[in-house]
C-alpha cells in the first residue's frame, strides 16, 4: 500500500475546515480529528476500489544483444485478466547499468486487455544486463491510495563490446590490398606466394616477367604474387588482475578487446585463421574455428561477459593452451601488461617456450598520463612525480628489451593507439613474410 501526493494535498487542505469550522464551533481539535477520519475513510474507499496489481501477467520482448553505447527498446507487455480497469504506474526494475532512461511509466489497462510499456535502454556496461522484477502501483478512482505489488518477470540482454576501433579497419584493409596482387603496387619478395600469370601491362615490374610462359604464349606474361594465406593467428587475452587497471578511463581489458577485434577482422579478411583465448587461471572465453563475419559475431559474444578477475595470471599454463589450439607455427599475440620487471617474471620465464615455435607479439597499453607526468616539471612535487614516471617508463623499457631478447615483438601504445598499432605490426609481419 502507498499514498499519493494527492492524499498529502487532501490532508493539508484540512487547514481550511479546521480554521473556519473551528472558529465557528470553538472546537478546532474535533474538526481536525474529523477531517483526518474523513481523509482516511476516502483513502480506504479508494484502496478498496483499486484494481489488484497482483493479477497482472507480464511478458517481455527483448533483443538478445546490443553493442555498448547503442540504444535498444525493452518491451514489457502487461495483461490485465482482472475485472477492473487498472490505473497505475509501472516500474521496470532494470539494473542501473542497463541505462534505462524511463523508470516510471503511467499505464491504464482496461479489464481483459493488454498494454505495452517500452523502456529505452542505453547500457553503459558490457556483459549480461538483467531485469528480474516489475513493480506495479494501482491507484483507486480517486487517486489517493494505491495497491503495490512486485511481479517476477526475468529478462536479460547481452551487451557486446563496442568495437570503436573498427574505424581503423578500412585503411588497414586498403593496406592489405596493396600487399595483394589486386593493385598495381606489387612487391615481390619474401612473404608472398605465386598467385597467377597475366598479360604484361605497361608499368609492371620487368623483373616479374615469366619468360618461359612468355615463350609459350607468344605474349609477354608476368607472374603475380599475393601475400601468404591460411596462417594461424592466436590471440591470448590476459584477464588477470592487471587488466583491471583503468588507463585514460578505459580498463586495459577493454583496450585488449578492441585491439583483438580489429586484428581478428583484419586477419580473417587476409585469409588467416584466428583463434581467441581469454585466460587468467581459468578459461574465460574461447573462440576457435570461426571465419569471416561469424568470427566477429562469436568473438564479441564470447568477450561480452568477460571481466577482470582479481587473480594472478597463470602464464605457465599458456604454452599448453597454445599447443591445444595448434601445433603449427602461428602468430601468437599476447594482450597483457608490460609493467615492472618483478611483475613480469612469469611472462618472461614462459616466453622462450613460445618463441621457439611461434611468432610472438606482446601488446601492452602504456599510460599516456605517465608520459605526460614525466614531462611536467613545474615544482618540487611535479619533479618527484616526473622521476617516478621516468622510473616506470624505464621499467617498461627494460621488460620490453627482455621480451625482444627472447625473440618476441613488443607493441606498446596508448589505449586509443594500441589497436591500430597492433594491426600495423601484423601487416608489417605479413609483408615481411614472418608469419
Amino acid at each position: 500500500m502507498t499514498v499519493s501526493g494527492r492524499f498529502v494535498a487532501l490532508v493539508v487542505l484540512g487547514i481550511v475546515p479546521v480554521i473556519v469550522a473551528g472558529e465557528a464551533t470553538g472546537e478546532p481539535g474535533l474538526v481536525l480529528a474529523g477531517w483526518l477520519l474523513f481523509a482516511i475513510a476516502l483513502g480506504i474507499l479508494d484502496l478498496a476500489l483499486a484494481a489488484s496489481p497482483r493479477v497482472l501477467v507480464p511478458s517481455r520482448s527483448l533483443p538478445s544483444r546490443t553493442r555498448l553505447g547503442e540504444t535498444v527498446a525493452s518491451d514489457l507487455y502487461l495483461v490485465n485478466p482482472g475485472r477492473r480497469t487498472l490505473r497505475g504506474v509501472v516500474r521496470d526494475a532494470w539494473q542501473p547499468s542497463a541505462g534505462a532512461s524511463i523508470t516510471r511509466t503511467r499505464v491504464t489497462i482496461p479489464a481483459g486487455e493488454r498494454r505495452l510499456v517500452t523502456v529505452p535502454l542505453t547500457p553503459f556496461r558490457r556483459g549480461e544486463r538483467r531485469v528480474e522484477l516489475v513493480t506495479v502501483r494501482s491507484f483507486g478512482p480517486l487517486g489517493l491510495w494505491a495497491r503495490q505489488a512486485t511481479l517476477k518477470s526475468p529478462g536479460r540482454i547481452r551487451v557486446l563490446p563496442p568495437f570503436h576501433a573498427r574505424k581503423h579497419l578500412p585503411s588497414r584493409l586498403a593496406r592489405l590490398r596493396e600487399l595483394d596482387g589486386a593493385t598495381s603496387v606489387m612487391v615481390r619478395g619474401q612473404g608472398t606466394e605465386f598467385d597467377s600469370l597475366r598479360e604484361y601491362v605497361r608499368g609492371d615490374d620487368v623483373r616479374s616477367i615469366d619468360w618461359r610462359a612468355t615463350a609459350r604464349r607468344r605474349d609477354v606474361v608476368v607472374r603475380t604474387w599475393r601475400p601468404e594465406r591460411d596462417r594461424r593467428v592466436i590471440l591470448v587475452i590476459d584477464t588477470a588482475r592487471t587488466s583491471a587497471a583503468r588507463i585514460a578511463d578505459e580498463p586495459r581489458l577493454d583496450t585488449a578487446f578492441e585491439a583483438s577485434l580489429l586484428l581478428a577482422a583484419l586477419a580473417t579478411r587476409a585469409g588467416d585463421r584466428v583463434d581467441l583465448l581469454a585466460y587468467d587461471r581459468r578459461m574465460r572465453a574461447r573462440v576457435q574455428g570461426a571465419t569471416g563475419a561469424d568470427l566477429m559475431a562469436k568473438m564479441v559474444d564470447a568477450l561480452a561477459g568477460v571481466e577482470s578477475e582479481l587473480l594472478e595470471m597463470d602464464w605457465a599454463a599458456v604454452p599448453g593452451l597454445v599447443r591445444g589450439v595448434t601445433s603449427q607455427r602461428s602468430l601468437l599475440v599476447l594482450l597483457t601488461s608490460v609493467d615492472a620487471p618483478g611483475a613480469s617474471t612469469a611472462l618472461l620465464s614462459m616466453l622462450p617456450q613460445l618463441t621457439k615455435r611461434h611468432m610472438v607479439v606482446v601488446a601492452s597499453v602504456i599510460d599516456p598520463g605517465t608520459i605526460a607526468a614525466s614531462r611536467q616539471r613545474g615544482n618540487r612535487d611535479e619533479v618527484y612525480l616526473a622521476a617516478a614516471a621516468e622510473r616506470s617508463l624505464l621499467d617498461i623499457t627494460r621488460v620490453s628489451e627482455a621480451i625482444r631478447q627472447m625473440g618476441a615483438e613488443v607493441v606498446t601504445a596508448s589505449p586509443s593507439e594500441l589497436p591500430p598499432a597492433l594491426a600495423d605490426r601484423y601487416l608489417a609481419l605479413k609483408a615481411a613474410g614472418r608469419l
Binding site: G29, V31, V57, P81, S308, R380, A386
Partner: protein, 407 residues
Amino acid sequence: MRSAKRITPGSFDDRVVTPRARTVARRGLFWAGVAGVCLVVVALTLLLTRGGASNGLPLDPASAAPTGTKAVAEVLRNQGVDVVLPDGFDEAMTASSVPGSTLAVYDPSGYLAGDRLTELASEAGDVVLLSPGFRHLQALVPDVRAAGPADPDESLDAECDQDAARRAGTISPGPTFAFPDDTTATGCFPADTGGFGLLSIPDAGDTLWILGPSELLTNDAVILHGNAALGLGLLGRTDRLVWYLPSIADVEASGPPSLAELTPNWLVPVTSLLGITVLVAMFWRGRRFGPLVAEDLPVTVPAGETMEGRSRLYQRSAARTRAVDALRIGAVGRLGNALGLSRHASVAEVSDAVASALGRDPREVRGILLDILPSSEREVVALSDALRDLEAAVAVAVDPRPPTSPR
C-alpha cells in the same frame, strides 16, 4: 511443463514477490503476541507497584501515598464530617462561604497570593493554616512569626488547655511559630525554639489556627504520638471541612496577557495538522517502488596510483639522488636517441656527444648528466630544469630544418 502452465488467477502467487496482507498479518501475529504480552506485564507491574509510590501532592486528602492524608480525611468522613476538596480558588470560596465550615489551607509553594488568602479567610469560619509561609502570615496575622523547626528528636507536649491539644498530649516535632506577648493568641506544644507547634488566635468569633508540624497529618506520621488526636480534633471541630490545596492554576495572572490568550484556538490543531501532513508526505516520498536491484560493480583500479605512490615515497624519504637518477636515465636515453648514438652507449659517451653538439663545456654537461649530487630540494628542481633545457637545446641542434623564430 512449468512454462506451458496456463496462468489462472489461482496460480499467481509464484509470480508475485510481494506477500499478501494476510501473510504479513500471519507472520506478524507472533510478534504482535509477544508485544501484547509485554504490554500486559508492564501494565500489571505498574499497577502493582504504583500503590506504594510517593506521587501525588503532599497532604493531599485524596492520596493514599505516605505523604498523603487520606487516613485523616477518611476517619473524618466516617465521623460524619463533610470533607470538601475544592478544585481552584473559586470553588474554595464557594465551599467556604457555607456557614459552619472549617477551612484548612496548605500551600507550601505559596501559589495563593496574600490578599486572596485574606479574602478566603474572611469568608470562611474557622481557618487552619498548615505550616503557613511568610506571605500568608503577613496577610492574616502579621504579628506571628516563624520560630524555626523544633528539635526533631523530641516530641512536643501540649501544655495548654485547648481541648484538641490536651487530648493529643504529645505530637511529632516540626516547624514552630511564635507570637508577641501582648496579643490574644494561645500557644500549645511549646518547643525549644521559643515558639509553639500550634497557635490559636481568636478572630471576631472565629478562630484562626496555625499548625506548624503539619506533617503529623500524613498517612505515614498520623499513627505516632497523639498526632491523630490533634488532627481529628483540629479539623473535625465543625461538620464541614474545606481542605484546600492551592495549585499553580490559582496564581493570579498579572501583567500583559499570555501568549496562549493572544493566539487563536485553532493554532495548535493547525500546527498538528501540518505535522501530520509532513509525516504523510514522508510516507508518500519514502515508500519504495519495489525492492532494490542488486548489481555487481566492476573493479576499478586507477593505473597511475603506483606511480603517484612511488613519487610520494621518494619525497617523504628525501630520496633525491634516486629521483634525479631516474630523470637522468630517461634524459640520457632520449639524448642518445636524438644524437644517433647506440642504445648501449655509456653516459660518458652521451655526455661528450651532447657537449660537442652544443659547443658547451664537457665538464658542465657531465655534471648535469652524472656528477652533481643534489643536497637540497632546490637543487633537485634546478637539475631537472637543466636536464630539460639540455634536451631542448639538443633537439634544436640536431633538427635538420632551418631555425625558425622561437615559439
